[in-house]
């Protein structure tokens, strides 16, 4: 960045400071030897990492979050990819309306959806919180599955499938041998995006927690409110490390900016 545009450059620096510096401070306090969130940290130690890894509520919540994110992602793809096919390849009445309907969970505030599912399904129908969480997260991921794989499908030539059908392949065989491989990058992007979104979600999961099944972000929020020690900083640093791994995988496969920014570079 040359300084030929001093105003733009200083605003840009300010923007990066606001985005990145708080994250660096989390990492710095995670390695403190002291017992408070004081800055500068007192000494260097790994004691808070040991504490976090030995703290059962966090480990249980981590496993719950991973399980939920994985199941919701798979479910959203299994349900969402056929919807994409129906929209782009089928003779669907009111195509635009159907597509809009599947994108609608993106517009309604997640906290409102969470309240609706809590009140109507958990209290009204007395369902356990795990199936309700799974329904909620799957609904929230459907727009990604439909829109991201839809973008791949729009680029794929329907003539290829017709050629396969003309050569005698059944519709199912044509899908698995021709269409699905064409969709692979879209499915991968949608899956990664869904997994991360589900794993990090707070507003939807907030009201849908129970003693037996709680997600990690919600458990961390509760912990911060009760005690003010660096264990959450250590847990955050572990999550940061995991997120960096996912970002690197995304970059090496489909391209980071393309998946998460919708930017073709």
């Amino acid at each position: 960045m040359k300084t030929s545009r001093p105003v733009a450059a200083s605003l840009a620096v300010a923007g990066y400071i606001v985005m990145i510096v708080p994250i660096l401070f989390v990492v710095a306090t995670a390695f403190t030897g002291g017992s408070t969130l004081r800055f500068p940290p007192e000494g260097f130690s790994l004691r808070w990492f040991e504490a976090a890894l030995a703290y059962d509520p966090f480990i249980d919540a981590l496993l719950s979050s991973l399980q939920l994110a994985l199941l919701a992602t798979v479910l959203a793809l299994v349900i969402g990819v056929p919807v994409t096919l129906a929209i782009h390849r089928g003779r669907l009445p009111g195509k635009g309306l159907v597509e809009g309907l599947f994108l609608s969970p993106l517009i309604v505030p997640e906290l409102v959806v969470g309240l609706a599912l809590y009140q109507q399904l958990m209290i009204g129908l007395r369902l356990d919180n795990f199936p309700v969480l799974l329904i909620g997260h799957t609904v929230l991921m459907l727009p990604y599955a439909v829109r991201v794989t839809g973008a791949s499908l729009a680029l794929a030539d329907p003539g290829l499938e017709e050629a396969a059908r003309g050569l005698g392949a059944s519709p199912v065989r044509a899908f698995f041998t021709v269409t699905l491989p064409l969709l692979r990058p879209g499915i991968f992007s949608a899956g990664l995006l869904s997994f991360v979104t589900s794993f990090n979600n707070v507003p939807l999961s907030l009201l849908l927690q129970s003693r037996d099944f709680r997600t990690l972000p919600v458990t961390m929020l509760d912990y911060v409110q009760q005690s003010y020690d660096p264990m959450v900083a250590a847990t955050s640093t572990i999550i940061l490390a995991g997120t960096v791994v996912i970002a690197v995988i995304a970059e090496r496969t489909v391209g980071f900016a393309r998946i998460f920014g919708g930017i073709n570079r």
Binding site: P22, F102, P109, L111, V112, L117, Q120, L207, P217
Partner: protein, 273 residues
Amino acid sequence: MVSRRTGLLALPGLALLLAGFLIPSIAMLFAPPGVSPLDIIGRLGRMLTDPYDLAIIGRTVGLGLIVTAVCIVLGFPIAYLLARSTSRWAGVLLALAIFPLLLSNVVRTFGWLVLLGSNGAIGQLLTGLGLVDRAPQLLYTELAIILGLTQLFLPLAIISCYSAVAQVDPGLDDAARGLGASRTRTFWGIVVPLSAPGMVVAATLVFAGSVTAYTTPYLLGGSSQRMLSTQLYSYSSVTIDWAAASATAIIMTVLVFAVSGLSAVVGRRGATS
């Protein structure tokens, strides 16, 4: 694959959408258990006249507008510099701007607790430099919420602005400069008007995100700086006042729908003019 039956593939998805989203949402908004729609309308009316509730709505909308403005003012220059840069560092900086989107909001917001807390870095710095005798109260203020929400939504603003600026032909910049326009005049006369639709999208996303965010007002605003989202949570799980919860949910949803609709109208007008 083009057949009448292909349309049936949308059915499982539609069923999930109806049972797991549309029906529960409509039932919650207009007919919660033991509450008549009239109760909700009454509660909505009182909220829109009561000074305490109005202050919360005002804070939510006000902070949303401030955060939107800050995100555009900081995000557009970043998008502009990155889109126009030929440096190989531009790709790294773009990735650095998008990366926070993948990171948990709890982790990102927690950083401000470390920075703004009573023993936090900023307070220590101010007292250490002798600028103030005692660290000022930074946490649980509107400033803390603005900082937290700006950090959260700046990446979204950058991405939307970046796509818009990248579509503006750099040849136009060169032409304007060649005709004698200053760099500043080229920026305001060419780049900004042509990437305005991207800014509208960015502003909509940031505003809708800010007025519905929960983690940031909860951690950085506490109980002294209530917003619609924290209020909605306490009506649903602390006081269990379904009528108030539905009324708050309606206000929040209408806010988001209104701003999305407005941006669609502005975007269409921009496209036809």
